[in-house]
Amino acid sequence: MKSHVIVFPGSNCDRDVAVAIKNISGSTPDMVWHKNTSIQESDLIVVPGGFSYGDYLRCGAIASTSPVINEVINKAKAGVPVIGICNGFQILIETSLLDGALIRNKTLSFICKDVYIKPENSSSIFTEYNSVAKMPIAHNEGNYFASDDTLKKIKDHDQIAFKYCDADGLVNEESNPNGSLDNIAGILNDRKNVLGLMPHPERAAEITLGSDQGKNIFEGVLR
């Protein structure tokens, strides 16, 4: 089991996700500096959360032009599982590995709190072990947006990974923290090996922290 965590200037959940992966899988991920142009054989690549390049210009935009990104894209196209969490999701969106856009929360404020999400797609390696799960969000720009065409496409191809819901799994307006279209919390690429999500599973990987239901997202890959 070999995993890799990409580190950009301004990443700040890189250590957190590495610790979670170590605890789940028993093996420590390699940290990959953004200037690297190659990544060794990998069972999982994580693009972690944080504020790469300070979120300046547009969240994820500058990181998506980093040298390492081409290699992430190559690996993704070759079928290696890739997870982008929070800022990592924003980066994957900017690389066009994932569809749509993440715009400013409808509240216009940063939101840090626990939310519930539930899997919409059940066949991908990231969603297969999931049911309704509690985990934190912490972002300014997590409001998922897609044009009508794009939305239709990701629906038709079963690419919606997770939706925000309440504790009982009900998807409704009240459980949507940031204004995301259709309560979308995470999406997959067409091939289902690339996942982007706004909630932080690595912050819910230990019961002492309030929830360990985030582990399930990694189980399919790390088991």
Binding site: L57, R58, A61, I62, T65, E94, S96, G100, A101, I103, R104, N105, K106, L108, N143, F145, S147, G179
Partner: protein
């Protein structure tokens, strides 16, 4: 050369900021506001004085980095 770049949200893209600004303006008592859209304005100071080459270069900057073409349009002008 001073280049001025405008980056605006495409027509059908939601603009939460614009919406909130419109609301706050009405709350402040300003009337007759139909809509507000917020975009970016970037000024780039460039070497050289060939406007054509510069324009091409600036378009390329927008495509590669400055704008997200999924949701944004851009325009470039040089003083």
């Amino acid at each position: 050369m001073l280049a001025k770049i405008h980056i605006t949200l495409k027509k059908d893209v939601l603009d939460p900021q614009g919406k909130v600004i419109a609301n706050s303006l009405s709350n402040l008592g300003f009337e007759g506001i139909q809509s507000v859209r917020q975009g970016k304005y970037i000024e780039i100071m460039l070497d050289g004085n060939d406007k054509n080459t510069a324009t091409n270069k600036l378009n390329e900057m927008c495509e590669k980095l400055l704008a997200n073409l999924v949701i944004e349009d851009y325009s470039v002008e040089i003083d």
